[in-house]
């Protein structure tokens, strides 16, 4: 079975940790990030990634439930930051982001020189359903033994809002016909590359997110 279909068959149902049914229709066309890259990416270091914005700080919860600041996870390594919610079953939404990050993890593991220079961070914006326990369970399915991939939960809606605004991550919790909050969100997929000076150096969305591209950017930023 091709890699991508194996991922979708095995990972998607399991990703809905503690969730109720989610009603996003399943798209028929998978994003490019699930397949081999359809072009030769520019050579590492041959291009410039200008600073998009500063990486904002904010309160989060780690997998043990301990309050932490997001900046505790930035600065010492190049970080690939992904905003997700674990109940998302749109294959081209959050599962795509987690799939690509897992592929980045796989590739970094093949390059020992990079292992101490890269951190993956998956931060949920679902303050209702994605508790630290849920994030820990979600992370357990994805993280390779000993790899630096952290799974963070939001502390509250109030502490989450400035983080989302600071990273230009728009999300809208879906509601039912009576206005009752659902477990799903409308949002635009964002994955960000953050350098060791806590600057956002690239932003990826569905049309362009791919492990090869992200990894090239990681190496380009590391060569600054």
């Amino acid at each position: 079975m091709p890699r991508v279909w194996l991922w979708l068959a095995l990972a998607l149902p399991g990703l809905a940790v503690g969730s109720e049914a989610h009603v996003h229709p399943t798209p028929t066309v998978l994003a490019p990030g699930y397949f081999d890259l359809d072009f030769a990416p520019p050579t590492v270091g041959s291009y410039v990634l200008p600073t998009v914005r500063g990486a904002v700080d904010g309160q989060v919860l780690d997998e043990s439930g301990k309050p932490r600041m997001l900046h505790e996870f930035l600065g010492d390594k190049v970080v690939v930051l992904s905003f997700i919610f674990t109940t998302c079953s749109d294959v081209n939404g959050c599962p795509l982001a987690s799939y690509v990050l897992k592929r980045v993890q796989d590739r970094v593991l093949e390059i020992p020189a990079l292992a101490d220079s890269v951190r993956l961070v998956s931060l949920s914006f679902d303050e209702i359903y994605d508790t630290p326990t849920v994030m820990a369970a979600y992370g357990k399915r994805l993280r390779a033994q000993g790899f630096d991939w952290v799974f963070l939960a939001p502390r509250s809606q109030e502490t989450l809002a400035p983080v989302l605004a600071g990273y230009d991550q728009w999300v809208q919790r879906d509601v039912d016909a009576d206005g009752k909050p659902l477990a799903s969100f409308s949002h635009i997929l964002r994955v960000l590359l953050i350098d060791r000076a806590k600057r956002v150096r690239n932003v990826y969305s569905v049309s362009y997110l791919h492990a090869d591209t992200v990894l090239n950017d990681v190496r380009t930023v590391l060569a600054d």
């Binding site: 009603v23 996003h24 229709p25 798209p27 028929t28 066309v29 994003a31 490019p32 359809d38 072009f39 990416p41 520019p42 041959s46 291009y47 410039v48 200008p50 600073t51 998009v52 914005r53 749109d90 294959v91 081209n92 939404g93 795509l96 230009d168 728009w170 809208q172 919790r173 879906d174 509601v175 039912d176 016909a177 659902l182 799903s184 969100f185 409308s186 949002h187 635009i188 997929l189 964002r190 960000l192 932003v203 990826y204 969305s205 569905v206 049309s207 362009y208 591209t213």
Partner: protein, 445 residues
């Protein structure tokens, strides 16, 4: 996603990607959320005219939902305090903000259209475009990339000629970088494949899956701010129009290949099909449709594939709009106020299928995702537009229905009679993009 939203929008971009996206809904960036059902509003970026209403540039909101009590009327108008040569506009990838720029003053107005889609408000004005960009003036296309806006320039503040650049901003309106067009003096690593490397700019589009960005070329401030009759009588000035399309490395933002496309190639529209690696443009001065395509060897090429009307009569092709299924292309010609439909199922040999006069002049065309609604506006440039003496149908916003065979007129708004100004670029809005529903009563200004 609740059904209310699902009916209209692929806002999680996965849905937008999943559909074979295309028009003004199909002419949008592939990075952007799409309205795939009935749009609620069309936002019309409108040039102010001295002595007409308040005389200011304004964002005009037209209710286009036939289920609305205010269908076919202007429900809101927001003036920006002066005249800037209002021209093009574009939406951010999350579709919360509409960027609209002025070709003369280089001011850029960022409108919040998500807080209340029926009543946009001005969120920010960028007044230092030239200073921040290193001398670029005449911001034209505002094109959504992931979390960013790419603005094309038309000119520069040194000689106000056509040499220019693209300027990249965050969605919030903060400057990121300037990317100069390649010239003979500085090819910036690009291959000059023909006779020209003019460094001019106009439109930009991207094909992310091929890591390609494409730009076209028009003319500088000295020409586009000049009276059209005087300009066309000035043989030297008429030489200063763009003759190039540039293919860029989208990721690296570096130019790769400069293609000769003589005669001022304007709007670029790229195909949406997963294997359709091509874009169309039309040349204003030579009146042709050009195909910009990747050949079997992976090389990007340009070739003229069809004539648009009789070039000797200077029809002046302006806006084009590609259908969501890549089957047809609407082509407006400004001078004769006519739209033509080309069958582009063979992109190398488009065939004209329809020709219909829309008004005394015609500029922009935008179609709904399903292609069933086609919107038109009339204005080109303040100093180029025809006047009321030409006839009574000069400055308008019009909606036509399209059933695959004929255009059926639905409604028109005369922007002069309404004392609004000269209507230019149209962008679509919908409550469902933001998880909203229409209030029981939409307030009118």
């Amino acid at each position: 996603m609740n059904m209310r939203i699902a009916a209209v929008v692929g806002l999680i971009v996965c849905l937008a990607f999943a559909v074979r996206v295309s028009a003004d809904e199909t002419c949008m960036s592939p990075y952007m959320a799409k309205i795939v059902g009935q749009e609620d509003f069309v936002y019309v970026w409108t040039l102010g005219v001295e002595g007409l209403g308040d005389g200011q540039d304004k964002l005009v909101t037209v209710d286009v939902n036939p289920k609305s009590a205010t269908y076919g009327t202007v429900v809101h108008s927001l003036s920006v305090g002066g005249r800037n040569e209002a021209h093009h506009s574009g939406l951010t990838d999350d579709r919360r903000f509409l960027w609209a720029s002025g070709l003369d003053t280089s001011r850029i107005f960022i409108f919040d259209i998500h807080t209340d889609p029926a009543q946009p408000r001005l969120a920010r004005t960028i007044d230092d475009f030239a200073a921040k960009s290193g001398g670029v003036v005449g911001p034209h296309t505002s094109y959504a990339l992931a979390g960013r806006m790419m603005l094309t320039g038309l000119s520069n503040n040194r000689d106000h000629g056509g040499r220019t650049a693209m300027v990249e901003y965050t969605n919030d309106g903060d400057y990121i970088a300037t990317h100069w067009m390649p010239t003979d003096d500085d090819l910036r690593g690009a291959v000059k494949s023909g006779s020209f490397a003019d460094g001019y700019g106009y439109d930009v589009r991207a094909l992310p899956r091929r890591n390609v960005m494409v730009t076209s070329s028009f003319t500088g401030w000295n020409n586009y701010m000049r009276n059209l009759g005087e300009l066309m009588a000035d043989a030297e000035a008429m030489k200063r129009f763009g003759n190039t399309v540039v293919v860029w490395d989208l990721h690296a933002r570096t130019p790769k290949k400069i293609l000769d496309v003589p005669g001022a190639p304007l709007e670029l529209r790229c195909a949406w099909g997963a294997k359709n690696n091509y874009c169309f443009t039309s040349t204003a001065l030579t009146s042709k449709i050009w195909l910009i395509y990747e050949d079997d060897a992976g090389e990007w090429q340009a070739k003229a594939v069809a004539d648009i009307a009789d070039a000797s009569k200077i029809p002046l092709p302006v806006d084009i709009s590609i259908a969501a299924d890549d089957d047809y292309l609407w082509v407006d010609t400004w001078n004769d106020g006519t739209v033509r439909l080309f069958d582009i199922r063979d992109p190398h040999a488009p065939k004209q299928a329809l020709e219909q006069k829309i008004g005394e002049q015609l500029n922009m065309v935008s179609q709904s995702w399903d292609g069933k609604r086609v919107y038109f506006t009339s204005s080109l440039l303040a100093n180029w537009d025809k006047t009321a003496s030409t006839g009574g149908d000069v400055q308008y916003f019009k909606l036509y229905g399209w059933d695959g065979k004929a255009l059926e007129h639905r409604f028109s708004i005369d922007f002069v009679k309404a004392k609004l100004g000269l209507p230019h670029q149209m962008r679509f809005g919908a409550y469902a993009l933001y998880g909203k529903t229409k209030p029981a009563t939409v307030a009118q200004n």
